[in-house]
Symmetry: C2
Subunit: 419 residues, 2 copies
């Protein structure tokens, strides 16, 4: 789908004309300002119907039916239904994914469960520059073990080569984020699962910066566990719940660490004695996030209508076009591409460098392009296959070019850089 | 404030005329049907401005400002702000409470943290008929310890006397729900904290069926830890986040079990190495529930304007009136009061028994009164000091009386009983 250089607005419009996903764009709401929202990483776009769905839930259900909604609506089943609706996007079967809690909590649940299942090895191997909350959860879990007198340690590899080198039988868990939140460099799930299993380590993947953009095949690649954030590419709403996947091979082998009534095999029976659901649902906890789940449902209804291969093809086309136009138009203005140029090595976003990145990012907002800055000199552009098109890409690069060429970012008002 | 029997509608109207909290009723939204909503236990009422606040957040923030809202709005500080807004309702200082996650997860965080702090004793003492999710969390935590080779067990006392009897030096944690979710029997925080501390045990209180109704003084009674649900009397919205309190004496003594970036001492710095906030905020986890927090904020804005003694006085008056009228009007119709009649022994709700309770509860909905059924023969009436008045109480009992007197509940359509 990618055009030859030189890139032009006409090329982009032609790509959009043949885009099989073009029809989904009108399911999403955009700012009246016309700003181009290239920030799928921090917060995906809102579905058009989310506000009405929430309003209906608050008034028809909470206000009018009050507690009867617990039994007449699907509030309590929603975590399993939402999991089923997005499962195909990560190559999982519908019954192996649940949507609940947040990424941090799901990471804790999975690390502690996987650690028990592995039963030998005493290290968690990860990258030193894994996303902060991922690092914190692993550190916190090991500190907890230490306080209980149980041995365990973290191995923080500085480079990807070191991750491979340090993977030996002492490693209980190989714990990685598939897409680097800064560079967008992507791990090969298949290769790393194979390497981990060769030394009996289990794999835990954070897919936060991948799902909804890449063609992820958890089952096909033999992945053991995965979690991810719902509010980035998946458009589940700011602070919305996260997801959790367990390979069926590992389900029901031990109790979940956080045992709560929604994880009970018979949660509707109000039993005092916990009996975990034998599948991934055993890792649900307490009352689901009713309102946030409704917002996520609006997006999940869309995801249930698309194939992940189509989504990935469109994402590849959008990001290759973006990189091509950025190089063509902005290389002379000090822009370098931080993300891998080879599609197979690249994750959900495209990151480019510029010496004044923080201020440039602030100036871009003022000029109609929303991106996100990552210290020290990189700007992330997150593209959604569902609501972005190639014309957006062309326009966005023209904005970047203008801001750099006019040096608009040097204005003192852009000195205060937000994250 | 309580009238002498016989009770009358006139008595009730007089009590409402002198009610200092009467003005708060118009801050809440009620069903157009005019149903009386006596179900503060499963779901408190909606504030009138919740739908507009949520709509504004979705459109002005998520849609229009997108990721900039993370830095320009108070989304990331909300868990601490909400904690401060409700802290006085449980007798805590503003900096010692946070609102986050759900009750189940907060119970797990607190049990595991308190267990480490106690450092000796190997049992968690609780009631056998504590709320199901409370039981599950304790069982799950002990199973986790067992799987790691660490000894620990649960003591499930069948009666309140047995709880007192079994409290000895082997008990690490005394773990109780202040108000029994069925009978509404109330524990005396002060007495039980004293008894626990006499054997060096730490106390964990679940206040889900107490906060927003009773005069709770966590600091004054020397309580160690507390958690509770936000969506019952506190009106935080269905599935909204829960709260967590740690006595300052116990803060910063160890790492939180679930370490996440919002619990970092410098969460805004994106550091890879976890350093827990030294106070209760260290127990925050990942991204806050942005939309649910906005709904809770609408209620918290109201809580911040009331004194807990006024709230408790009104609640006492409402529930004493309810018991009095129920006895006066419905005793001959097979109604018995399940909850303690002495106010000091009673928690947030009033529970009454009837042989056909399940069907009666269904019939009451059809006749304009929403209550909740608890197996086998009890009906719970949850009264809110902020939005109920004595006239509601009079009307509600007339509905109960009619349904029982006419035997309307015997109709086959009420055979399907929901929880």
């Amino acid at each position: 789908m990618t055009p030859e250089a030189p890139y032009s607005l006409e090329n982009c419009l032609e790509l959009d004309r043949v885009d099989p996903l073009a029809g989904f764009r009108n399911k999403f709401a955009f700012a009246a300002s016309g700003n181009i929202h290239f920030d799928a990483n921090s917060m995906g776009a809102m579905t058009k119907d989310a506000p009405d769905r929430v309003h209906r839930l608050l008034t028809k259900n909470w206000r009018d039916k009050s507690r009867r909604s617990w039994s007449t609506e699907d509030w309590l089943e929603k975590p399993r239904k939402l999991g089923a609706s997005i499962s195909h996007m990560i190559g999982a079967n519908s019954q192996d994914v649940v949507v609940c809690d947040n990424t941090t909590i799901n990471l804790f649940k999975i690390i502690s469960y996987a650690w028990k299942l592995r039963g030998s090895g005493n290290a968690i191997l990860t990258e030193a520059h894994n996303f902060p909350t991922d690092m914190h959860v692993a550190q916190g879990f090991l500190k907890f073990l230490e306080d209980l007198g149980v041995a365990g340690h973290i191995i923080k590899a500085e480079t990807r080569e070191q991750v491979v080198d340090k993977l030996d039988r002492n490693v209980a868990l190989l714990y990685l984020t598939q897409t680097d939140y800064r560079s967008s460099e992507r791990w090969d799930l298949s290769e790393m699962n194979r390497r981990a299993h060769a030394v009996d380590a289990l794999t835990i993947w954070d897919l936060s910066h991948s799902a909804g953009a890449l063609n992820i095949d958890l089952m096909g690649t033999g992945s053991d566990f995965a979690v991810g954030c719902g509010y980035k590419y998946l458009c589940g709403g700011p602070g919305g719940p996260a997801y959790l996947f367990i390979n069926p091979e590992h389900q029901g082998k031990s109790w979940p660490t956080i045992a709560g009534w929604m994880g009970h095999a018979h949660w509707d029976k109000f039993s005092s004695d916990f009996e975990p659901a034998a599948n991934v649902a055993g890792h649900l906890t307490g009352t689901p996030q009713v309102v946030a789940n409704e917002i996520f449902s609006a997006a999940a209804d869309i995801w249930s209508k698309v194939q992940r291969a189509d989504v990935a093809d469109k994402h590849q086309s959008l990001t290759e076009t973006l990189i091509g136009i950025l190089e063509q138009e902005c290389s002379p203005l000090g822009v370098g591409i931080n993300s891998p140029k080879l599609y197979q090595k690249r994750g959900g976003h495209v990151s480019f460098s510029h010496a004044g990145a923080g201020q440039v990012c602030e100036a871009l907002v003022d000029h109609g392009l929303i991106s996100s800055f990552r210290f020290p000199n990189s700007i992330r552009l997150g593209l959604s296959p569902l609501y972005h098109n190639h014309e957006d890409v062309w326009k966005a690069v023209q904005i970047i070019k203008d801001v750099l060429f006019q040096e608009a970012w040097q204005h003192p008002k852009y000195e205060n850089v937000s994250m």
